[in-house]
């Protein structure tokens, strides 16, 4: 019985053979932050974006509530990507092209307090300065709690 079924299946497969629709992988959607760890991710359905916030060890310690005060040397990086439907599964959205990479690095200011140097680049690496409210962006990206990992 199994032989009959296998023979039938083989015939049907041969009759319905069509070339594979091999996808093209998009390495440009990946972002590397050497020496940094993931603090959290976020979805924004109003802006149709999806982001990941990275931090160095000091930044991760702050986000993990180990410390209450910011400290010079903390570095936060927020990578924001376009949100797109995941191919082959209606019910999931995923990251597409990188739209911006923001960084905030804590330094001691001339007044002797901890402040942040902020920078924003586009997905193409070009510096973006127009229309950026640095203070609110710094507050946002440095103020998120770390997602819980086991």
């Amino acid at each position: 019985m199994n032989k009959i079924f296998s023979a039938l299946t083989l015939v049907l497969v041969m009759l319905s053979c069509k070339p594979k629709a091999r996808p093209v992988l998009a390495a440009e959607y990946l972002h590397q932050e050497n020496g940094m760890q993931v603090i959290t991710s976020l979805i924004n359905n109003k802006n149709k974006t999806i982001s990941v916030i990275y931090g160095n060890q000091l930044a991760a310690a702050f986000a993990g509530n180990v410390r209450r005060e910011h400290q010079a040397g903390e570095k936060f990086v927020m990578v924001t990507s376009d949100q797109r439907p995941m191919p082959h599964w209606y019910g999931t959205n995923m990251n597409g092209a990188i739209l911006s990479v923001e960084s905030a690095t804590a330094v001691v200011t001339e007044e002797g307090v901890v402040g942040f140097n902020y920078m924003r680049r586009g997905g193409n690496g070009k510096l973006m300065t127009e229309g950026v409210d640095e203070t609110s962006r710094i507050r946002f990206m440095t103020g998120q709690s770390a997602a819980v990992h086991p």
Binding site: L25, L42, N95, P150
Partner: protein
């Protein structure tokens, strides 16, 4: 001489024809019978959704298989019987409550995807049963329906459990959790590169998907299928309520899912080994290695051209 040659040919044809008839008649005695056991808990659906699924899916995925006369004749009956048995084993609308509620929802989303990807109804079934085809308008009805399911709007409102007590962490450090198929948990992924970030709104979760160097290098080189040694780790959280700016942050940690490529070790599941570790305790999912079959069934159906992986970045 010519006449005699034709006669020989004719005789041969008659012999072949008779042999085929004899074989066809013979296999009718071993032809599988297709039975419809009683329904124990038929799925309850809105009338318009039910009408579509009854017409397109019930022949193979319910105990109400409506079999045509030609479906009962061997060798076709072997194929029909196989498809019905396979269909019922994947999910059965007549025994719907055998599935846990979360699985029922996932199955309904999977059905929508299988139809959208034109994997279901099976093309060979559609050739004989064109009335089972699902139109674009009908697919939209199904999509609207799955978007009303509870998981679609699930928000994690529980206080976020930050970490295990020290005693439990120490216990975890002593005994590394191991899945039933032998895959051990490791947190090496924390040093890997993120290959995708997802909003799985069908079930109210969000994920970060990591790839090891072999996986990332394969993506960079546009290399498919992925080589042995490639590994993927999905870290899954619930979703907190959306804030006034539209931001949604991770809620409670739910699980870690692993996919490991080893074409020899996991040959029965297209070369991929699957594992899932639930909760902060990282409890291995699945009492036996059979759970891998559930994983690969869906991956095999929907992403065979992606080397059976969903979460890869593609153009």
């Amino acid at each position: 001489m010519k006449k005699s040659g034709l006669t020989v040919k004719k005789k041969k044809l008659v012999v072949v024809f008779c042999a085929i008839l004899f074989i066809l008649a013979g296999i009718q005695f071993t032809s599988p019978s297709i039975k419809n056991p009683p329904s124990t808990s038929e799925i309850a659906l809105p009338a318009d959704v039910m009408a579509i699924l009854k017409r397109a899916c019930f022949d193979c995925h319910s105990n109400n298989s409506s079999v045509e006369w030609f479906d009962r004749i061997a060798p076709v009956s072997y194929l029909v019987s196989h498809d019905i048995n396979e269909g019922r084993s994947r999910f059965n609308f007549s025994e719907w409550e055998r599935n846990p509620p979360a699985v029922r929802e996932l199955l309904l989303w999977e059905m929508v995807n299988a139809i959208e990807e034109k994997k279901m109804p099976l093309p060979r079934y559609l050739r004989m049963h064109p009335e089972a085809a699902v139109s674009t308008t009908e697919l939209e009805i199904l999509k609207r329906y799955v978007n009303t399911l509870p998981g679609r709007h699930k928000v994690d409102t529980m206080a976020i459990a930050r970490a295990l007590p020290d005693s439990q962490i120490q216990q975890l450090m002593k005994a590394v959790p191991v899945s039933a198929n032998g895959i051990a948990y490791s947190d090496d992924y924390k040093n890997w590169k993120i290959i995708s970030t997802t909003d799985k709104y069908d079930g109210g979760s969000m994920r970060i998907v990591y790839g090891n160097d072999i996986m990332v290098n394969a993506i960079a080189a546009n290399k498919l299928p992925f080589p042995d040694g490639a590994q993927i780790v999905k870290v899954v959280w619930g979703k907190q309520r959306e804030d006034s700016l539209g931001n949604v942050f991770p809620g409670n940690f739910q699980n870690v899912q692993l996919m490991i490529k080893d074409s020899k070790r996991f040959s029965s599941t297209e070369g991929w080994g699957f594992a899932k570790f639930d909760g902060l305790q990282l409890k291995p999912f699945g009492a036996s290695a059979i759970f891998q079959t559930t994983c690969i069934n869906c991956h095999r159906l929907l992403v065979p051209d992606n080397d059976f992986v969903f979460n890869i970045p593609t153009k």
